[in-house]
Symmetry: D2
Subunit: 323 residues, 4 copies
């Protein structure tokens, strides 16, 4: 079985663009105390600035140790600061590009201090909104240079680029698995890879299970996994299996087959739900799907060789209902 | 439990716009002989011209009786004749409008002869492709007049308008549940109602379970149900539950709660699959979901009153995995 | 030519779900002083609580008079208060339903005081997120009752229901034109109609020009218009014509043909743009499209009767390029 | 100005999956006689088997010479033969993989005979329909091997992989620009590149103008261009600019800026339109957009450096309306 983790901020107050959140906002310490109680969760992802800053690194490290939990990743906060509204390391303004890179370096140092092996880079503002207003080539140069500079300065860290087709920008540079693999390749750095967020992938048009294979073929580039579900056209950030089922089984099968070594992390926005319960549900669903793959690995291998939708349907009925 | 049926043509050669089909095309009689063997299937839908014509009504009626199966609906073929390329009863040409209405009348007569209670009207060509090229108001007048004329001439038949957002036209007049209810209301005829095709509904943006409630509120207007699945953006016409799960349970719950009295009919395009096996799988999946609703009706009633996604998730895990 | 207006809040700080806005937040008075300078703008829409409250009604009324501008609508703020997170007049909690209705009544009174003829009801929280967790029928009863109660208490006001397929909820009850017409009909109130937001309509799957005709056929139910553009899959709230062109001409033609009497109001989220300039651009685009319709009304009437995509294409080339 | 071409088959009878076409089917010779009359068209694309076979190569070559037109590409017909229903060079059956490769070789030889420089490979059947039924990794191995074998045997030909997210399969292996670049890279062959079909790209979620830049960055991999338009969610294969406008200008600007050397070819399915007129309209639209780019190249360069949506909007108004 894989190891499971959660993003700490998912336990807090998640807002939308109209309402500043439907809950009270607990402190980082309160959220951590709750997160560690979720069954099967052995690791935590921390968002820079929100959860982790130079001033609280020591304290957070001690707390994580006391709870016996691993710091799975640090996620740089490059999405809440308005200065990055038109891009971080792809901003037209060189001063902002420098500021962004300096901030990312600081996150790298924090990751080292926390004995955290992975920086999860969701470059949310690096994209564009309108057509005929962006020098795509220039901006991709800057994206490549900034990412490579960072990766080279921290050779012992892994940098996982988390892709998403849109939001907050109308188009992201890291949009889908294949685009992001091309961007990772351009850096020439072995320690730059990819993070799949299942929900981002579901509404990107790609098949998430196939995306795992693309990453494997490009040189074992899948570094991290975020789990959630949605209705297929937007990042609804829902409990796993609220909408889909088969795709998770195909995905977990391909993770195992391609030798994925990372964590399975839950990433939801439980706007109106009890946060730990909603996240805990996702853990239980993913584990159930994982069990199906564990118990039927050879049978699934045969299925995917047969390419017979009727056989697949029969297997799914048996897997879900036992008959 | 509901009664199950299949559309006969689904057992034949289903083509796409590039390839004229991936199978041999069996005769109507051969397909019928196969269809009646699918477990739990008690009724058959026949497509006009393909399966049923004035010249073979008597023969088909006798065959159905011999097999002990019900003729659940006749589906007028208003989609394969090129003369209807720019519309049937909404065509700009009055001669074509008349021809279409005459053909629909003939189908009405065949339905009466077959002791079939329902004409399933998929008005596939009644829509448009380009913007700024259609007199929407005029065409909707013709749509209403033609439908009303037919419904009044056959007061003992039910006419179910099957909606679909697009294909073969880029926009259909009967696009979603709500549009089609408005169209049905305009006719002023009690015997004009709606057919939901789950796949059409899935890629129309609406929630199929809620569509059932809209039809109920408009005066018990849900006359018929077609089942299949897709990946959420097109009419892939796949085996039920290949992609989705929860939505079928919500749908079957609402069917029961609103007192749906019709058939559950399978409607797929098993392009590359063994047809009867693929259709048989759909029957088994729908029945499994139906059992879940039967065995947990009161619990689901409580769930939908509670509006707690965590409870719903727990229920789904239990319903699917028994734990 | 139609009269043009803007929503005041569009000039302020528009945030997304990650960043609390990319601008400073000017005061209502500052925004008003800017809005009235946008060329061709004769009216203003005010959002309840943000812009207009019992304590500033008199002041705002005087300011609008001094500027010589009309208060085109009041938009109740039922989307920023967390108490309405699971619905306003459709909330499971009767106390919240009452509170919501009381708030809406207060907005009705403010509208009367402001000599404003229209309340624009975007019932953003009245929907649901998860399947199998909502009593659709019960909630639609409450939606109908609340809307009808309000409309009857304020018979001299018009209430425009603004539809949107999703966001902030994963599904809205007022989702598309046809659903919302059914909801308006259920109230039995002549003063309940519809507001089209072009962007909401673009990503709802419907054709906006046809939606105008649906509203006309249901009894001249189009009460109000919001303009913006998007990339077709989300409410990007962009400058008009950033992406689309033909659809606006078809839309403005149908507005004229169906005798629309209301305002054309701009509704954008210029997150990273200069607000008044971005809104001013939309005004100029809509006016350009309006001119095309004015100067070619009879020719367009012929086009839509002909149903010839080649003729439509030729017309568009001539209309846009003059050759 | 670029050189313009058309796909010959677009002048014929284009069918959908329900109706076997809305027109009569002219002969190849008749279509060619019509195609050469479309203003500005200097080249023709021929579909293997439909238009060009070993038995008519000499005749077609002479006809093209007589008309003074270039054979721009040969498109292998790997989409109409039912034997390829579950894949051509990715078929699980080695005999079918061999047959497909042999057929592609024959097309390579025909291309050489026709002095045609490009084979346009739309590998329509190489994908899959159902989840949990495909060995993605194995099939991508075969895809790579087959493509590389072909490219190496014909080192003087260019092979353009035309991507499309789905149809006829629910998922294509060559789905979007980035996936297809990765596939091209895997072959290690310089003469394997990409064909953009604008309509495929529009409904793939990517920005077509940015896709051009991705191809350039991967080593000038854009070999060919197909033009058409759609409503944003399906391959409607409509006249250019029926729906979109700005995206074409951004696209043509990026083509020029990245030094694209190929043809601009029209690829439509004028199901119900007069074929040559509909295709001729697309040519005129693309040329109009090309003129805008030609006349304003430096201004657009400044625009894309500025990243100011208001400036872009002003430019578009001026470009389209001259004021």
């Amino acid at each position: 079985m894989y190891k499971y983790s959660v993003i700490l901020g998912n336990l807090g107050n998640t807002c939308d663009r109209f309402c500043k959140g439907y809950k009270d906002n607990p402190s980082t310490e309160e959220m951590l105390a709750e997160a560690v109680k979720i069954p099967h969760v052995e690791g935590i992802e921390l968002v820079g600035t929100w959860d982790i800053r130079p001033d609280n690194v020591k304290d957070m490290k001690r707390r994580m140790q006391d709870y016996g939990k691993t710091c799975v990743s640090i996620i740089p906060d490059v999405f809440t600061d308005k200065v990055y509204g038109k891009g971080t390391i792809t901003n037209n303004d060189p001063a902002i590009r420098r500021k962004a890179l300096d901030y990312l370096r600081k996150i790298g140092e924090i990751a080292l201090e926390m004995d955290c092996k992975l920086v999860n880079m969701w470059m949310a503002q690096d994209g564009y909104d309108y057509l005929l207003s962006t020098d795509y080539d220039q901006k991709r140069d800057w994206l490549c240079e900034g990412t490579a500079a960072l990766a080279k300065e921290f050779p012992t860290l892994k940098f996982a680029l988390e892709y998403k087709p849109k939001e907050p920008r109308n188009f992201s540079f890291h949009a889908r698995m294949a685009d992001t693999l091309l961007a990772a390749q351009e850096t020439g750095c072995d320690n730059v890879g990819i993070c799949i967020d299942t929900g981002h992938s579901f509404y990107a048009g790609e098949n998430t299970a196939e995306a795992v294979v693309l990453a494997k073929r490009a040189g074992n580039k899948l570094f991290h996994m975020h789990f959630n579900d949605n209705h297929g056209c937007w990042d609804d950030d829902m409990i796993v299996a609220s909408v889909h089922s088969t795709v998770y089984i195909d995905l977990l099968f391909q993770l195992k087959k391609t030798g994925y070594q990372g964590w399975l992390s839950m990433d939801q926005y439980p706007y109106r739900e009890h946060a730990t319960d909603a996240i805990g549900e996702s853990v239980l669903w993913v584990r159930r799907f994982e069990e199906i793959v564990e118990h039927n690995f050879t049978e699934i291998e045969n299925l995917i060789r047969k390419d017979d939708a009727v056989e697949t349907s029969r297997f799914m009925r048996k897997a879900l209902f036992g008959k």
